[in-house]
């Protein structure tokens, strides 16, 4: 079976962006200085809200770990090219997509405030999700059509 190279490149870039972004937010979280209110970004209401921590784990840290998982699975898939791994990868990306959906809604409907780094991460994990679903759906099809 053949997974296109652009898939690996795109997902790797997106996951790296997401990883750097989430790591940055995690660092800010643990530095713990009260964030000032800025002219352009508001008061970081989002990253200091109760929604920024779930069961004692900062959401940013969970995000960073998620992206490490994406990169690790991607590397494994790149090495093995196993259709089962591709399925696993596609399922794993649901995590990021659902979390993004949830936290974007919290920003829109509960906090009425936006955090630009959170939006960036939501975009990255949604794109990773879409790419993974597309390739996971497409690649077995390609294989079948080749077999015919």
């Amino acid at each position: 079976m053949k997974i296109p190279n652009w898939f690996f490149t795109l997902v790797a870039i997106l996951a790296l962006i997401g990883f750097v972004d989430a790591t940055y937010l995690t660092t800010e979280h643990f530095l713990g200085v009260v964030p000032p209110c800025t002219i352009t970004e508001g008061c970081e209401q989002v990253t200091t809200s109760p929604y920024s921590v779930v069961l004692g784990v900062p959401v940013a840290l969970a995000g960073a770990i998620f992206y490490v998982g994406v990169l690790a699975l991607l590397l494994w898939l790149w090495d093995r090219r196993d259709p089962k791994l591709l399925k696993l990868f596609a399922r794993y990306t649901w995590l990021g997509f659902l979390a993004s959906l949830y936290f974007t809604s919290v920003q829109a409907f509960v906090l009425n405030a936006w955090c630009q780094y959170c939006i960036l991460s939501a975009i990255a994990s949604t794109l990773i999700f879409l790419l993974a679903q597309y390739v996971a759906w497409r690649v077995p099809n390609l294989q079948e059509s080749a077999a015919l």
Binding site: F19, Y24, T27, G32, P36, V68, A72, D79, R80
Partner: protein, 211 residues
Amino acid sequence: MQKGLWAVFILAVILIVAGVVSVAKKGNQGGSSTIYPITIVADDRVKGPADARVTLVEYSDFQCPACATYFPVLNQLAAEYASSTRIVYRHFPLEQHKNARLAAYAAEAAATQGKFFEMHDMLFAEQTKWSELADPAPVFTSYAQTLGLNMEQFAADGASQALKDRVERDVASGKVYAVNATPTFYVNGRKIKNPGSYQEFKALIDEELKW
């Protein structure tokens, strides 16, 4: 799979984390070495002696949560350095805080009756009670009553154009001194990184007093 590949992967992850953490830490320093020629004028809101060796200027917003967390810190500094430091409060109400300008007007209206810092203290102490109100004016009026102000004068001053101009003058000066967030502090004209604790703040003032 080759073990080497995973070793490279883990190393890359560690390097990225280390890089991002160090950049984030640097970003947090945010101080500058520029000395701004901030002149303190007669109607500035000042706590402390005019001949103080250290002048701490704060650009602040009554509705800003970070400003409220610095409020007890500054009070403690004012008490401890009463003879050597003067603290100047300047208005910098941000657009995203819908009640911040009205709060600044209330404080200025109290100032005309000599009770600026009394109103300032109440506004910060009770910040969460009025921040999200659709109309905070009755709350501010009740603070003025508590402070025993002349209510007619308070209402008239609060609506006067001169008082609004006074607030905008602070905002304009803040823009000149590169204020881009609240609170922003200047120690003898030098913009500082917001200190993480009372001790850090104290150390900055002690450093100035050495000279």
